[in-house]
């Protein structure tokens, strides 16, 4: 069967073999847990607790600060130690609730949250999802209840589960699909039932054969669900490319997936929806891949949100060799860390420690006009040209030549033989343009 794909993209060494066959194991944190109030797109959450309060696992400790915002629940039992600015993986300092772990893990009764499925209306399900604080767990952190309430509800006909996991080194989604496929299928069915005309697609890259086999087996009797096998290449899992690959529809930077009749969910998000609706559990944990050639024992952990990165690295045996670069997320779009004392957030998919930093090793030189960046650009813009405009400060031409359509996937910087920092310069310029628009 022909594979589903898009035009462009790159094939970096995927490094997934380090953790592909490592079962997800639970890590129970020992130290303090930190809950940043802003780990999603939109308004920060408002704290519901104050210093000195005792909290238990599953307790809502901060509530959404608006419609586009999300609740935050404690993943641990203990005492609120402080509400202060703390460093987050993105590099900034964010107001956070710090809970001192009493190591008892006393839970609220999740069964109280469970309501029989047949009694639930569309609004009730979305309410449960909002209450559980679920956001897109692929990295962007868009609140899921907002995604599920599009203006053109009746036009939504495709729900896509993003199992592409095209970022190198990441294996958390793969392990989840392998170990909890029924949660993926049921979670998807819950979402499909929210829309009258919707069908479901589970999209998986063809390097995850076992997950494809398993999910095809499980959905063979499901009329409304199909498993699409995607060509393995980066950025197959990028929202716009994923929608195009699966449906042939286009969305650009000014559109939402719903404008093309689609809603896309990460595997972790779908499982969280399942856990919220069926098990009554709010979003308090996620799977994190701790990997890289500097990690003694690379692993996939199911981790309570708020756990310190340093603790997770120690749980994976610590550093084998001194890393040159530690990244939160994958090597293509992840953020380089300058401190390991940051908490796991709803969007933390991986901690990657590399012994070599390719960026520091190569110095940018003159563009040789080879056109590789243009050839691979999934957004079909001309990175080298945009970069020239950006460097010349010509924002008008930058916008005119579709500079705002860049999705910052990093392919152009990756392929550039002259080692120009194309993605970095373009993404910086996009921020300038956006800031000017606002101002």
């Amino acid at each position: 069967m022909a594979l589903f794909t898009f035009k462009g993209g790159v094939h970096p060494d995927d490094g997934k073999k380090l953790t592909m066959d490592k079962e997800v194991i639970e890590y129970v944190p020992k130290g303090d847990l930190v809950f940043p109030l802003s780990q999603h797109i939109g308004a920060p959450a408002k704290p519901l607790v104050k210093k000195g309060d005792r909290v238990v696992v599953g307790q809502k400790i901060a509530e959404a600060g608006g419609f586009v915002s999300a609740n935050i629940h404690s993943s641990v039992s203990g005492t609120v130690k402080a509400i202060e600015k703390r460093l987050v993986p993105g590099g900034g300092k964010v107001e956070s609730i710090v809970v001192e772990n009493d190591n008892l893990y006393e839970e609220i009764d999740f069964s109280k949250n469970i309501r029989p499925l047949e009694e639930l209306y569309r609004e009730d399900v979305i309410d449960i999802i909002r209450e559980a604080g679920i956001v897109g767990m692929g990295g962007a952190g868009f609140p899921t209840h907002v995604k599920l309430s599009p203006k053109n509800e009746s036009e939504i006909d495709t729900i896509i589960v993003n199992g592409a996991e095209c970022e190198p080194y990441l294996t958390s989604d793969y392990r989840r699909m392998l170990e909890e496929p029924e949660k993926v299928v049921v979670g998807l069915k819950i979402v499909i039932n929210l829309f009258e005309h919707a069908r479901g697609i589970i999209a998986i890259e063809d390097n995850k054969k076992e997950a494809i086999r398993l999910l095809k087996e499980m959905t063979k009797d499901e009329e409304k669900i199909q498993v699409n096998v995607l060509k393995t290449k980066y950025p197959q899992g990028a929202e716009r490319q994923l929608i195009y690959a699966n449906t042939g529809r286009y969305i650009n930077s000014k559109m939402l997936p719903a404008d093309a009749g689609c809603i896309v969910h990460n595997v972790d998000t779908i499982i969280s929806i399942y856990e919220a609706v069926i098990e009554g559990r709010p979003l308090i944990s996620r799977v994190v891949t701790v990997t890289g050639d500097c990690i003694e024992d690379p692993r996939n952990f199911i981790v309570r949100l708020g756990t310190d990165y340093q603790e997770l690295i120690d749980a994976a045996g610590g550093f084998k060799t001194e890393p040159a670069k530690v990244i939160s997320g994958g090597p293509m779009m992840g953020k380089a860390l300058f401190s390991l004392n940051v908490p796991v957030t709803k969007g933390s998919s991986a901690i990657l420690a590399l012994s070599r930093d390719a960026v520091a090793e190569s110095e940018p030189s003159d563009c040789i006009k080879c056109g590789r960046c243009l050839e691979i650009c999934p957004g079909r813009v001309m990175p080298s040209l945009l970069c020239d405009y950006a460097e010349a400060g010509d924002l008008e031409q930058f916008v005119k030549n579709h500079g705002m359509e860049c999705c910052e996937c990093g392919c152009c910087s990756y392929v550039c033989p002259a080692k120009r920092h194309l993605t970095q310069i373009i993404s910086g310029t996009r921020k300038v343009v956006l800031a000017q628009k606002k101002g």
Binding site: E155, D157, M255, G261, A336, A360, P417
Partner: protein
């Protein structure tokens, strides 16, 4: 983790291993087979030329960057590629000092003056080739094979001769150092394609559009059958710098479009231009000029073929128009590419028509001038006659067959003219061409009276080396040696002539002297034969 040692930078954090240096290295590797075949074919001097150009270009680049106070980037090997390409585009016996001038022009003027790598508007190696062609036309068009000066297969083809396809494929032919072996060049081209250094679009559309043009031309204007047209096409594909140009020079990054559609347009343009230049141009070769002209159009082509951003314009369309292949097959937007292709073709056609018009407008005056010049030279070689009438009763085919029977070779009789004085034929003028000149053909006019004695000799067209072979035209005392001597044939000597039938060679140009003498002897042979050996009575 030592936090002071860890690197922080924006994503992406990994880079492909390929670098500018590795790409240039790949191009050098791909050119290696052609260079080796060239050295093997043409000998040590070819090797010296290649080394001189490669080293020369690198030295010039380092030097000029040093002078300009720029970062020295010789290590990216791009100068080495330019040097190798220049060498492969030179005739095997080309003087090294001239080659170095070409290298300096390529690197300093074409590349560095315009901003260095990636900024040059024209392929430096080809610019150097054209520069050398204009500056040193004699040396640039003198092709030897096995030590003998011969025409290139393409020149033979243009003159209507036949060529050996197999030896053209393998490279056992005259030509520039690197262009003769299609096999070696194709091997290199395939290597570049496999290594993904170049994209197939430019060479593919170049060769395809060129083939279509040539094939149609051969079938229609050339009046050939399909088989002959195929042979003609194969000879054109294998001959000259086409393969070298299509795979190695048209694909030069800085001077070819980076857009996918632009590459197609550029390839087609190259094919059509090469066809026009080869078939209708003055010289047998057209690849370098076609590429250079197209280089200049690249910014325009790129501007017209900018890709549409992913999903551009869909925000203002209703969902029903963005149904993708769920409801219907995706419609490819080829319109803009088509438009540009058509536009470029029209530009090509207009340019071709303009060339044709200029040709027709100037044809009359040029012919008139030529006729006048002819009359002038007739008078010069037969001062006693007042009237000159073309001998229409003598068939030149028969005449040429006759001199071949008489044992002449390397010479063609072009025209016989009656020189009349008072209405009576007083002698003949023979226009004769020798193919044995140092730099190709030499045409001359020869006056012979009824006694078979030469009344005058003048060169009509000659392109020999200045101050050496050109003395045959420029030094009147050379031609004067033939005049007024009642002999059957002349021989060339290097000392002062002792006998009437001895001609003193032009110093340093024995080949030219021999060629002219042989032509004169052949003409005499024919006239004496025609006069029935009565000339000396």
């Amino acid at each position: 983790m030592d936090e002071s040692m860890v690197m922080v930078s924006a994503s992406p954090h990994i880079r492909e291993a390929r670098s500018t240096t590795s790409i240039m290295g790949d191009v050098l590797i791909a050119l290696l087979p052609a260079a080796v075949v060239g050295i093997f074919n043409f000998g040590f001097h070819a090797y010296l030329l290649i080394m001189a150009c490669v080293v020369g270009c690198m030295v010039f680049e380092a030097l000029i960057q040093r002078i300009f106070g720029k970062k020295i980037t010789v290590r990216d090997l791009s100068a080495a590629v330019t040097g190798l390409l220049i060498a492969l585009n030179l005739p095997p016996e080309f003087p090294i000092w001239m080659a170095l001038i070409g290298c300096a022009f390529a690197i300093i003027v074409v590349k560095q003056m315009f901003g260095g790598i990636g900024q040059n508007f024209m392929n430096p190696a080809l610019a150097a080739r054209c520069f050398l062609m204009i500056s040193f036309v004699g040396s640039m068009t003198r092709f030897t094979y096995d030590g003998i000066t011969t025409a290139t297969p393409l020149a033979t083809l243009k003159a209507g001769g036949s060529v050996d396809l197999l030896s053209m494929f393998l490279g056992n032919e005259a030509g520039t150092i690197g262009e003769t072996s299609a096999a070696a060049l194709l091997a290199g081209g395939i290597y570049l394609l496999l290594r993904r250094v170049i994209n197939i679009r430019i060479p593919f559309f170049y060769l395809i559009s060129f083939s279509i043009c040539i094939f149609i031309y051969a079938l229609t204007a050339g009046n050939m059958c399909v088989y002959d047209a195929g042979i003609f096409l194969a000879a054109h594909l294998l001959g000259g710098g086409l393969i070298l140009g299509a795979f190695f020079m048209a694909t030069d990054y800085a001077t070819s479009p980076i857009t996918a559609a632009g590459k197609v347009v550029y390839g087609v343009l190259l094919g059509v231009l090469t066809f026009i230049l080869r078939i209708f141009g003055a010289s047998a070769e057209g690849v370098s000029y076609a590429i250079i002209i197209s280089n200049l159009l690249v910014p325009l082509i790129e501007m017209c073929t900018k890709p549409k951003a992913f999903g551009a314009g869909f925000e203002s369309k209703p969902l029903s128009e963005n149904r993708g292949f769920v409801d219907k097959k995706e419609e490819k937007d080829k319109e803009s590419t088509m438009r540009v292709t058509v536009a470029i073709c029209i530009i090509g056609l207009v340019a071709g028509l303009a060339l044709g018009t200029v040709y027709f407008v100037t044809k009359g005056p040029i012919e008139k001038t030529a006729e006048k010049n002819k009359q002038a030279s007739y008078e010069k070689v037969f001062p006693e006659a007042e009237e000159f009438v073309s001998a229409e009763d003598i068939s030149m085919d028969t005449a040429n067959a006759r001199i071949e029977e008489l044992g002449a070779s390397g010479v063609t009789l072009d025209e016989i003219v009656y020189a009349k004085s008072g209405g009576e034929t007083a002698g003949y003028i023979v226009i004769v061409t020798t193919h044995e000149g140092y730099a190709g053909d030499i045409q001359m006019a020869l006056g012979v009276d009824l006694n078979g004695v030469i009344t005058g000799l003048t060169m009509l067209s000659i392109g020999e080396t200045t101050n050496l072979g050109m003395e045959a035209r420029d030094d009147p005392s050379f031609a004067a040696q033939y005049v007024g001597k009642p002999v059957d044939s002349f021989t060339v000597v290097k000392t002062e002539p002792a006998n009437e039938n001895e001609i003193k060679a032009i110093s340093g140009a024995t080949i030219t002297s021999n060629a002219v003498t042989n032509a004169v002897n052949t003409a005499l042979l024919y006239i004496h034969d025609m006069l029935g050996g009565a000339g000396n009575e």
